[in-house]
């Protein structure tokens, strides 16, 4: 009990009209004269200092049972908060430091609520809209419970929301007032959350609305801030493999958080996240939150191309020696510089680097430098390497592109097949079915039951061993070992056959190179190049397919990244062609 702290609460008591408040142990205000305990709690001013306020907030909110409904009162943003919480927990079990959840993601989320005017601001959307009408309604009513619990420090306490009935009034701007009436059995449009209906109709300019895919953008932003060793493609792969809650995240909401009606459209999703989409959303949210420049990505960071290149060279079973070349390319192109790599949302052209795609693109460029990949030279070089290896069995073997291709082709085809099978077997539907309205509730439940029964019946026909064994999360998808001929490890193989000494330094034997594209699209269609597979050599196609499968991205976006690296690497060439075309235009 701390009367000092309770001083700032200056409202009259609804029971005795006195202004004399104390604080209970739970942090709620109670009237010292009549001992009436309010639902209001002491505002927490410095939430940042308490690591787990977010979780506390949820707990507090959900404890209040609704009088007329089975479930709790909850807001859509609380649902997203739940998902974020789950995802943060999952990231923690994946080995990410606890600061990500407690500090970074929490602060980002708080900032989001503030920017989207849902909480931590002067006029939260939930209150301002109805204040005028409600005030004159019945000032004696004391039902405080209907604003989200995130708003622990809002400053217009006179807001009262009547629970049971709200008169239809012309003053309200919204067609569906936030009130229980929308949940009555007769209403055709309803939601389990308090603001599900309004939320799905809301289209305010300048506000980035929260969606389930955007939760991943939040996760990635925090990973980026913390410079964690998880790339975007890793994150999305973990989502697909079920290590991070996403598709079924709403199922793990507390039992009393009922989801139905419009909530279905908000929380139920039937697609996996795609790289491009989440990437775009990340930038969008970074800008919306008005975040400062992110911590520098220096050479010792995991996301630095030098390190990522090393990682992907290991992943695709290429010789370690290639790392020197990738580092050179990184240096020449300048993509390893801090200013280039660091995300700065407030910069004029906010953009972040697709670290993983870029690293892979560097490897592709290096492969082109070494082997040309014209369906000819790489095989000639392979013949030379093969002969050398036969003669010198004791020495360090030369890298044989053909052998590598054979091993990789088999492994990737196998992986791809398994991946496709696993996807085809994926169960999308939740155990608790979601329905649109009370009318189809029974039908939906019956359908669910039927599916469960059928599944049960067919599972007796399947061997007891589960076919899709859950993979342990790993940032590596392949495992190469020496000795096993199908999974030969090429890491230790040398590049002597492909490089030659020129004075002090080594250069590639192959002096030719072809550019992936000559022209870049300058229109506003947002794609830089087009990738028409059949126009390229088989080897190039294979390499592009291999890497884009590893990152689960479209082949065209990897090709685009390769072209961008080449543009930086062969600046002179490009400016020449540019000039040429210009001069040609000039002549015309």
């Amino acid at each position: 009990m701390d009367l000092e702290e309770a001083k700032e609460f200056k409202e009259r008591c609804t029971q005795c009209a006195a202004v004399s408040w104390g604080l209970t142990d739970e942090g709620k205000y109670y009237c010292t004269s009549c001992h009436n305990v309010t639902e209001r709690s002491k505002e927490v001013i410095n939430t940042g200092d308490i690591p787990n306020t977010k979780i506390q907030a949820i707990n507090r909110g959900l404890k209040r049972k609704r009088k007329f409904e089975k479930g709790w009162d909850w807001y859509v943003c609380e649902g997203f908060q739940q998902i974020l919480y789950q995802q943060a927990e999952a990231l923690k079990t994946l080995g990410v430091g606890p600061e990500l959840k407690n500090e970074v993601l929490h602060n980002f989320w708080k900032r989001y609520l503030q920017k989207s005017k849902q909480a931590y601001c002067k006029n939260p959307v939930y209150t301002s809209k109805r204040k005028a009408t409600v005030l004159e309604d019945n000032p004696s009513h004391s039902d405080w419970d209907s604003e989200p619990d995130l708003l622990s420090d809002f400053s217009c306490p006179s807001f009262v929301e009547s629970g049971t009935d709200s008169k239809p009034d012309g003053h309200t701007q919204k067609p569906f007032p936030i009130s229980r009436t929308s949940q009555s059995e007769t209403a055709s449009i309803c939601s389990g959350s308090l603001d599900g209906v309004t939320y799905s109709l809301q289209k305010e300019k300048g506000i980035v609305k929260m969606t389930v895919p955007r939760t991943l953008a939040f996760c990635y932003l925090s990973l980026l801030w913390q410079r964690e060793t998880i790339t975007l493609s890793d994150l999305l792969r973990f989502v697909e493999e079920g290590h991070i809650p996403y598709i079924h995240a709403f199922q793990r909401f507390p039992e009393e958080m009922k989801l139905y009606g419009r909530d279905k459209g908000i929380f139920a999703i039937e697609s996996w996240p795609t790289y491009e989409d989440i990437y775009k959303k990340t930038i969008e949210i970074g800008k919306f939150l008005d975040l400062p420049r992110f911590p520098d990505i220096t050479e010792d960071c995991y996301l630095h191309p030098n390190i990522l290149c090393m990682k992907y060279l290991m992943e695709v079973n290429l010789p370690d020696e290639m790392n020197d070349l990738t580092c050179q390319v990184v240096k020449m192109t300048g993509i390893g510089e801090v200013d280039f790599l660091t995300f700065d949302p407030i910069a004029k052209m906010a953009k972040t680097v697709k670290y993983d795609v870029q690293a892979v693109a560097v490897i592709v460029v290096v492969l082109k430098l070494l082997f040309l990949l014209d369906d000819n030279l790489e095989w000639t070089l392979s013949n030379i390497a093969e002969k050398y290896n036969e003669k010198n069995k004791e020495d360090k073997p030369w890298f044989d592109f053909r052998k590598w291709y054979q091993v990789m082709k088999r492994s990737i085809d196998e992986k791809k097949q398994k991946w496709e099978e696993a996807r085809a077997k994926y169960l999308w539907k939740s155990e608790k079915p979601l329905y649109h309205s009370s009318i189809d509730k029974a039908v939906v439940y019956k359908r669910r039951e039927m599916v469960v029964n059928l599944q049960k019946q067919f599972s007796t026909l399947v061997d007891s061993v589960p076919t899709v064994e859950k993979k342990r999360p790993s940032s590596f998808q392949f495992n190469w070992t020496e000795g096993d001929s199908t999974r030969t490890c090429f890491h230790g193989h040398g590049l002597q056959g492909i490089l030659k000494k020129k004075g002090q330094s080594l250069t590639t034997k192959n002096s030719l190179y072809w550019l992936s594209t000559q022209k870049f699209c300058r229109s506003y269609c947002k794609h830089v190049t087009t990738y028409e597979e059949s126009n390229f050599s088989r080897s190039y196609q294979f390499i592009i397919n291999l890497f884009s499968f590893l990152l689960r991205i479209k082949t065209s976006s990897l090709h685009e990244e390769v072209s961008l690296i080449e543009k930086r690497l062969f600046k002179a060439k490009y400016s020449k062609t540019k000039k040429k075309s210009r001069s040609r235009k000039g002549r015309k």
Binding site: S200, Q457, V462
Partner: protein, 450 residues
Amino acid sequence: MSDFSEELVRSKTEDEQEESCMFSGTGMSFPWLQKHIETVATGGKKEKDFAQTTSACLSFIQEALLKHQWQQAAEYMHSYFQILEDSDSYKRQAAPEIIWKLGSEILFYHPKSNMETFNTFADRMKNIGVMNYLKISLQHALYLLHHGMFEDANRNLSHAETWRYGEKSASQEVLINLIQAYKGLLQYYTWSKNKMELSRLDKEDYAYNTAFQNMLNHSGKMSVNLCTLIQTPGVWDPFVKSYVEMLEFYGDRDEAREVLTNYAYDEKFPSNPNAHIYLYNFLKREKAPREKLISVLKILYQIVPSHKLMLEFHRLLRKSDKEDHRKLALEVLFGVLDFAGCTKNITAWKYLAKYLRQTLMENHLAWVQEEWNSRKNWWPGFHFSFFWAKTNWKEDKALACEKALVAGILLGKGCRYFRYISKQDDQVIKKKIKRIKKSVKKYSIANPGL
């Protein structure tokens, strides 16, 4: 949010429909345009991964079935059931039938499956939606029959027979009739079993009467069950056949005749050669006049000119007094031999040889020429090549002789087939060949001027 956007799309297309109505008011309508707009409205939306994976799952099941990998098919099936919960109502409604077809196939072959699992599956699938109840019931009954569960199948059909679902039952009337007819067919089975027993019993035997009574019982139900279906247009061969057999057994010839005539001649029924064959056989048993038989076979001739009854048809026509019938008799023979399947039919060749001679004897050269003109380009290669002469001679000398005679008459002495056969030095049929040579000389229509 997807469902919400679905609503938007729907309301949009509705608006457009109104618009197109307005356009049609000016006298112009573009039905294709409406269709085009609709496909654009839905095609522009990105397909969800749910739709993508379920359709991938379907193709995995189909592939597994094709390779008889029942185990894998069952695994994928386990995941495919979720299509019953698809938010796309069109796909959701089409799903039960697909699932039933795939699932019943898997359960039919899967080593771990048994009668019980199949029955449970069928019962579950019957009750998903209303439109599949009858179809699945019928197929379930057929499955049970396949496994010799006669009683269960019968019970199943009886259940299905009484199924009603408001207005929906009207659209499924044919199915109900079909189910009843299958029930009738099962009764026919018992009936004919009884009939067999009866034939073994002595008329004086006291068991005879009860058996006869039993039969009568079944036949009564059976005729009720079969009647309705037979009257609706369609191909109902086994049902018609058993119904007629029963009618004939009880001596109700008029009813039987009416059923068969209706089945063969009602224009609403699809063209069905068997209908005419049944009628013809019935009339033959009845010893109907030749004229009547000819008229039935005439229709069969138009549908299936190569049918084996055509030779019988030829015989009937040959004996007719009418000239056009006798002309038709020749036409029919030529028609039969046009078919590759009949090239070695010795009776046909024998008839043709004999009838050609007869026709020419009666001075109906024009009839022969009329038939021959359309065939003279291809019959020599088709029937009378050197190759055929050799093989026919080797395989069937009698056939070769008949064909040689026909070839001689139609193509003249110089034709290869005739020359090859006539040159053969065979003691046994020397006389026959001689006779052929004579006939050819006399009747050959080739180069009559020479």
